[in-house]
Structure formats: C-alpha cells, structure tokens
Amino acid sequence: MGTKWETVIGLEIHVELKTKTKIFCACPHEFGARENTHVCPVCLGLPGALPVLNKEVVTDAVLAGLALNCTIELYSKFDRKNYFYPDLPTAYQITQYDQPICRQGYLEIDCSGKKRQIRINRIHLEEDAGKLLHSGTSITTSQYSLVDYNRAGIPLIEIVTEPDLRSPEEARLFLEQLHALLEYSGVSDVKMAEGSLRCDANISVRPFGVQELGVKTEIKNMNSFRALEKALLYEVARQKAVLEAGEIVESETRTWEENEGRTAVMRSKGEATDYRYFPDPDLVPVVLEAEWVAALKDTLPELPQARKQRFIKEFELSAYDAGVLISSRVLAEFFEQTVALYNEPKEVANWIMVEYLGLLNAHNLEIGDSKIKPAQLAGLLQRQKEGKISGKIAKKVFAEMFQSGQDPEEIIKEKGLLQISDEAALVLIVEQVITANSQSVEDYRGGKKKALGFLVGQVMKETKGRANPGLVNKLLKEKL
C-alpha cells in the first residue's frame, strides 16, 4: 500500500439551450409534452426532410463560450456522426467534429479556498436524440422499447473539459459553478432533474509524479451534483483497488447505479465504433464577425464570480454567505431585491440561507418554483424589526407564506398573530401563570434558573406564542 495515487478527471457536459424551437426545425421546445406531439418531418427523419439552423442557437452557444472565456471560432460547420440507434431518427447526429464553435476556455473554481483554473477544451453545437421508454425495469430486461421523438432535435451544447480536475469534490464544485455560470448567462435552465444539464465523466488514476495518464473509464448516469461526487469517489476507490491488486483497469463505459451505490459496466470501450464523420452537405458553414461577437460579449449579465465579489464588498457578506447566495441567479436576485426593500443584508442573507433554503430543500423545490416574492419577505422582516411579531412567529408566518404565497400582513391578520407587547395585558397573564405553577415558582426561587424558561413557555402557551418574549422575561423576573 505504498503508492500515492493521483486522480485525474475530465468532464463532458451536455446543456440544453433555452430556445423556443428545436435546432433544425420549428417544433416547439417544451418539457413534459405528450409523446410525439412536438415532431415534424425534419426531426422525425422522414425521407426528403431537410435541416435549417435556428439563429438563436448560435447566439446562445457563443454566449456560453464567452462566459467560459473561450476563443470564439469565427468559422465553424456541422458534421454528421453516423451510427444506428432508435432514438436517432436519421441514423446520424448532426454535430460539430473538427471545427467547433468555441475552443480553449476556462472556469475558475474555488476549492476550499484554493483557486483553480479548469480548462475547457471545446464547446460545440449538436442535436439531441429522442427518448426511449423501456418496457422492463432496464434496457437489458425489456422485450421492447417505445420511442418518443419530442426531444429529437433539441439544441445542445457539449462542453468538454481538459482532464484538469483532481478529485471528485473538485468535479462536483466545477459542475455546480458551471451550473451557476450557465444559468446566469441565460442560455439554459440547467435543470439536472429535467435533463437540461447532463454530465458524464472520464476518470483515471496514476501514481503521483507520473506524467502518463492511466487507463480511463467513462462514467454515465449521474443525475445530481451529489451523485457525481459519490460515483467518482466509488470509481476512484475501485480503480485503486484494481491497480493495487496488480491488475489493469479496463477501458469501459460504466453506469452509476444510485440504489446500489456502485458503478457497473455498460459496455467495453474496446472496439470503438467508426462514426465516419463528414461535413453535412445539407447545411452551410457559420461565419461570424468579430464585431458581432464583441457586441454580444457586452450583453453578458454580471456573472457569478463578479457578483460574489460585489456582494462581499457592497453588502459586507462573508465569502461563504456570498457564495451560497450567488449559487443560483434567481436566488441572488431574490436576495438583492429583498435588500432593496429592507436594507439589512446580513439579516436577509441569514434568513434566506437558513429559513428559506431550509424549506426549499425539505420540499425538494428550487427557488424558481416558490411562491414567495422579495417584497413579501421584506415586509415580514420589517414587521419583525418593528416588534409587531416575534422571531418565532415570523418563522411560522414565513412557513405559511411558503405554502400559500399570501402576504405576511394577511396571514398575521387571519391568524391573529400580532405580538402582544401591551404590559398591562401581559401582567395579567403572567400573574395567572405564576398562580397556576407554584412548583415551578418555588423551583425558580430556590435557584433553578431553568424554571424561568418553563414559566415563559407557559405564558407563550397562554398567548399562543404571541407574547413579546423579552417583555415576558422582564415581567416574570419582576413578579418573582
């Protein structure tokens, strides 16, 4: 067990571009439509149908390339990748082989305080294939499969990194930060759950200090950031075990089996298919002008890293907090819009990170799916500040806002949750509680400080949580 191993990871990420229509035809691009309702002669591969390139797709690909610091290739073209599979209607995928639209970029990631530049080898445009629905539990146990071509022809960019990543954690961080970057650029929804962001990994290990790369395996079917990290951790361990046993790692494509927590062989990479790439004669090249590219660059919105720095400076947030808030464009905008109405950035940040993200995670939702508006959160925090509701009540109201989307005032009114800060009213209740809990009173007077907490709790119970806790504390102490 003497060898120190180095992990080498490269990622291939497919991103669905957020256009209204498919890449080569005018069929709508919508998630979740009934099978084969978004198809036409072109994306069904009917004889005689021809592709015509969607202009928006070129713009989006260039924006993604600019966000990733790539060189934008002013001349690019489309090639055919020929192979047979039922989800590929023309038996070739239109992609870009040797002249992709973007090359040589990078994404700077922050790995536990260490900044690393992960290089992007290329970004190219291609069309997506249809969807297969297997009759059995998996492809290997199905007697037949059904094909839905709604997804055939959806525009994709494929982003290929250099093998610069050195740990599964780095890979996950990279993907998360790439996710944020692409979301900010506006080119994609990047929802892994819906398949608009997909990631495959190539991973190998080698002894530290050795230049040559080890045999790599390709890992597929990792459907979340965590799955990516778990799968790669497993694979690193597996490869190390193989090599330490004196055996060779097989060049394979492996699938991540989430339930079993392991990778399994999908196919051997031994005999690579000859895809017979050649330029698609039904399309013409894309020739861009440098001025157009430069003008497009100016339209890029503030990107995550820049926003993070601004949040740290402008709102005096910690790097960690800023990092969490910028991780999603929608989240960052929610934060800023709330602060614009209620100028307590640290408080808002805290509330969002603890209460809001807590609820979202518990319900497995994204912030974009939530009903709460910035003005509503601002209003809630304002009322808390003014003492109209206590902290505890505020959290309750927030939870209700989350469910119903109602304004905080409405909820407070409906449920009668205004904080009671009227001393006269509270004194009565305090005296009631003291009378009813003589044992606790004695305990307190006898030195048990904890009994006070119990008595406060009783007052809160009587007032259904609405009593001003600070005031209750003060009054109890006076009376006791």
Binding site: C27, V57, I139, Q143, L146, P279, P281
Partner: protein, 98 residues
C-alpha cells in the same frame, strides 16, 4: 496516396456491420469483387496532384443560412405514426435493444 489493398470478404463483412446490412455469403463476395474493381479504377486519383488544395465541402458559397426561433406547424402523433403499424401509447415501438 492509394495503396491498393485487397478487398476481402472480411472487409465487406465489417462494412456491412457498420451499415447494418445482412449479406448472404454469395453477396459479400460479389460486392467485394465489385469494390475491388472500383478501387482499381479509382487509382487514377493518384495521378492528380492535390497538395495544398482545399476540399470543396460545399458546392454553394452560401453561409449563415438561418431561421428565426419561431414555432411552426407540427405533425399530430397520428400523422407521425401513420406509416408504421408497430406503435403503442403514441410512441414508435422497437423490439429488444440489447
């Protein structure tokens, strides 16, 4: 540079695999012979210098042919499936893949 390789039956069988064709024994042989003969005629390629010549990938000099990102007319699932009898639940059906 063309170096005339012998087009064996094995070569044709591999090509048939790539092209998803099932050839009977006699077919592979006759196809191989015809291809061999074709390659002999193509040896004339060697006689023309093309050093530094850029391949004519496109007959037209057109570039940047685009369409606007606007939704157009789709086929209905019935129209899409009309030319096949093997379908179920609005989808095309294929037998066991693996």
């Amino acid at each position: 540079m063309i170096k005339l390789l012998k087009v064996t039956k094995q070569v044709v069988v591999k090509l048939a695999d790539l092209a998803m064709l099932e050839l009977r024994n006699g077919e592979s042989l006759s196809i191989a012979q015809a291809l061999q003969s074709k390659l002999e005629h193509l040896a004339i390629f060697n006689e023309v210098q093309t050093e530094g010549v850029r391949p004519l990938f496109y007959v037209s000099s057109a570039q940047n042919v685009f369409r606007e990102d606007q939704v157009g007319k789709c086929l209905t699932p019935q129209e899409a499936l009309a030319n096949t009898q093997e379908n179920a639940k609005g989808c095309f059906k294929v037998p066991r893949i693996v």
